[in-house]
Amino acid sequence: MQLTLWTYEGPPHVGAMRVATAMQGLHYVLHAPQGDTYADLLFTMIERRDARPPVTYTTFQARDLGGDTAELFKTAAREAYERFRPQAMIVGASCTAELIQDDPGGLAAALNLPIPVIPLELPAYQKKENWGASETFYRLVRGLVGVKRQRVPGERPSCNILGPTALGFRHRDDLKEISGLLGRLGIDVRVTAPMGATPVDVSRIGQADFNVVLYPEIALAAAQWLEKAHGQPFTKVVPIGVGATRDFIAEVARIAGVDASKLLAEESSRLPWYSRSVDSTYLTGKRVFIFGDGPHVVAAARIAGDELGFKVVGMGTYSREFAREVREAAKRHEIEALITDDYLEVEAKVAELQVELLLGTQMERHIAKRLHVPCAVISAPVHVQDFPARYSPQMGFEGANVIFDSWIHPLMMGLEEHLLGMFREDSEFRNGAAPSHLGAGAMAAAEPIRVGTPAPESPLARGDDEIRVAPAAPTSEAFAWTPDAEKELKKIPFFVRGKARRNTERFAVERGVATITIETLYDAKAHFAR
């Protein structure tokens, strides 16, 4: 039994829904009680999808448990087939139905439907959403992929793109970006799956030369099986960031036997120059914490360190399946990876590490709000804001441009930082004014962080706000500052004042200093200098 306030991943059947909803002509019959239909709104609200997910829930109730829940499942499956006429069906159980052991696979087989019916075993009490998506896609591929076609000599090389799903972080735009890259390399894309594919399309996956795995958290298991059973090699590099995109192009070119030198020479990302331009000097050594799913975290750490010149002070993942990869990547930054799905632990770590930029999921966005740390989202779990109307990929060269903007804009502009310091004492200048790009609401960030800031942004949020002490945030209530020290603190630019206060108080605690004087302030400054 695990005490959980918030969860990064949903149950595994939600992963299966992400696969089914991304596809066309596939229907998912889910043995589930009333209430599990909540999952529909993830798709219709967060992703603003214009159709219901292709899922039929059996909706059993307590009074059915003594009776025939199996019959209920059969009726639901039969009706779903008749109404939706899918090319194939997946069937399975949600957490509660798993306990009543009705065997949806066997029941569906007994119906003798004239289409392939693929049973899913998704252990809800052991596994989570990404594993569920991965397992579902693997079962679909195993169940549907036909024979490998022999290659005709002289034919253009071809691949499949595997991994993009519904509710994925920027999957829609990544797919467009990477399809474009492959086209420029002269490689045909035969099947993209799950996104947009029909079961018939999936059956043709075996006909391509190799597979491009965009999201290993979803498509790695399927790609490994395809390599074994159909001899299709697959790509290992996730093309997020300039370096990784170049490595990806080289890898694809090697597998496909094409020449990538022209494409590599034409490299079109602005990130390298923007990063070298002098305004970016202020990015040097900014303390960054990275958290998210495994592959996105590994990619983000490389960009942060090698392409933007940040210092990665912490990184971690909620995907235990990728713990090894993330630990290895962390070693490059001489840090220990945090492998957890407890967001309170992540929050405590962020507070402890005095982070200047937080790259994470929607959960970290809220942590950042509470701790007044700039933040950018790099990974699922997603929010309605992660489906922007504009084209906004993470992958490829355009993805690198998007990443540069979305990671850098939350930070103080380089020159602006200095100008604010210079003009701070001018009478015209209102000390405490926010940097222009953060808008009028940002002023609150000036003072030390004491309370959790409620964010009633959800359409579902209700009324009055709860304000609570964030558990890990240092509090300054217990500290006595001499008037001189308080005055001196005010001379520090407001945008670092909160941090100076925190650092000084932490320094005082560690040394058992009861009253903070000007001396303590500068001792702490020297202590934390880097």
Binding site: P33, Q34, D40, M45, T96, P381, H383
Partner: protein, 429 residues
């Protein structure tokens, strides 16, 4: 059956004897766990611990919006394989989790252990666990249990189950207690304050509310207690109160000017408030509500509305929309039709309304499309897909999360229905 509601000149029986289309199939509704989202706001020192699966945690998180608060007063004890296989002792595990929680939150005075589908199926006895832990933590914290599982409760029934769990713990009224009024069902604080002022002006005292805002302010109950339901989904709570000797005041629900007047009048008559005083006290509120409603009536009159089952508020809403805004209600679906509590409402509902109970969502969508309504009231899973088909929608969940009861919210309630139509008319893209 007992539609003795002296509020309307019409003596029609409305929908009292109308046939009800009973359906069975996929239900596009939340389970009772969702009630935690508003209950934890209402009882400000209570904590709700769901004993369930990752699905339960994900549901509440999704229904509440991701991470609204730093640390919410609800959480899930997620069952894992060890719990199911019996390797871990469920009692020990629960004690450990509750201990950790209460250590972390010394401000909590009332803890609800909330049962879920998995905990019900594997028959975890939360009632016994709550009793054991109550002994452990008394008097600092009281621990109660109820089930919000989807196999037993639909959406708002979670509130019913929660309040029903509170009823046996309410203190007995004193031997010399005078008649008192208990308003039952969560109302937004602002509405509760308005209602309290009105009853005070009517001279009805003492007045108490269930749920209470603080865990320690338990209202006493007994034979002198007359209770007035503020929400239509409280069947079990009502039964519990009757067992304690309380008597229900039959009334429609306080939605719209007419509903609010009838609701207040039912209480006023039960407490022998002179008619002249009732008129004097309610006149300003009625006038304000009427003024606010008239602006929306122009826009909404004649519009055809279809209500999918969701909160059990559908019948009172249909009555409000048809009688006070002159809308044409095509179908009013409700997850569960409590004929006794809704008798006064059904009598007021035009006989042309199609009533349905339960749900088969695909069949209902077929009926909805065939009806070509001007506006559909439905859950969030259906709203965008219907909008994409060109059908205007109103999210039903907003009816639970915003104050809609009473005179001064009558206009706001109408506005909820007017806004989607105004928006659709305004957009040129």
């Amino acid at each position: 059956m007992n539609a003795i509601v002296p509020l309307s000149s019409t003596n029609s029986v409305g929908c009292s004897t109308a046939p009800v289309l009973k359906e069975r199939g996929q239900r596009e509704v939340f389970c009772g766990l969702t009630g935690i989202v508003w209950l934890h706001r209402k009882i400000q020192d209570a904590f709700f611990l769901v004993v369930g699966s990752r699905t339960c945690a994900h549901l509440i998180q999704s229904a509440a919006g991701v991470m609204i608060f730093a640390e919410p007063r609800f959480a899930t004890a997620i069952l894992d394989e060890r719990d199911l296989a019996g390797i871990a002792d469920i009692d020990d595990e629960l004690d450990r989790v509750v201990g950790r929680l209460l250590d972390r939150r010394p401000d909590i005075k009332l803890l609800f252990l909330v049962g879920s589908c998995p905990s019900e199926v594997i028959k975890i006895d939360l009632k016994r666990a709550a009793a054991r832990q109550s002994r452990l933590y008394a008097p600092r914290v009281r621990i109660l249990s109820y089930s919000g599982s989807g196999i037993e409760t639909t959406f708002t029934q979670g509130e019913d189950a929660c309040l029903a769990a509170l009823v046996p713990t309410l203190p007995r009224e004193t031997a010399d207690a005078k008649p008192c009024l208990l308003v039952v069902g969560a109302l937004a604080d602002v509405v509760e304050d308005q209602v309290a002022r009105l009853f005070d002006a009517l001279g009805i005292a003492p007045l108490r509310f269930l749920p209470m805002r603080h865990a320690t302010d338990l209202p006493p109950v007994g034979p002198q207690t007359r209770y007035l339901l503020a929400q239509p989904f409280l069947a079990d709570t009502a039964r519990g109160l009757e067992e304690r000797g309380a008597k229900r005041i039959d009334a429609p629900f306080p939605l719209g000017a007419e509903g609010t007047t009838a609701w207040l009048r039912a209480a006023a008559e039960a407490f022998d408030v002179p008619a002249s005083r009732f008129e004097a006290v309610t006149a300003p509120g009625r006038a304000r509500a009427e003024k606010a409603l008239s602006a929306y009536r122009e826009r909404l009159a004649g519009k055809r509305v279809f209500l999918f089952p969701d909160s059990q508020l559908e019948i009172p809403l249909a009555r409000f929309l048809s009688r006070e805004l002159a809308m044409h209600v095509l179908e009013a679906g409700t997850p569960y039709l409590h004929r006794q509590h809704l008798a006064a409402e059904l009598a007021l509902l035009p006989a042309t309304v199609r009533l349905s109970e339960g749900q088969h969502v695909d069949n209902q969508l077929d009926r909805c499309r065939a009806d070509r309504p001007d506006i559909v009231v439905c859950g969030l899973g259906l709203a965008n897909p219907l909008e994409a088909e060109g059908i205007t929608t109103k999210w039903s969940i907003e009816l639970l999360f915003t104050p809609i009861q009473g005179y001064d919210q009558a206009g706001d309630l109408a506005e909820l229905f007017a806004r989607p139509l105004v928006r659709r008319a305004r957009l040129e893209v």
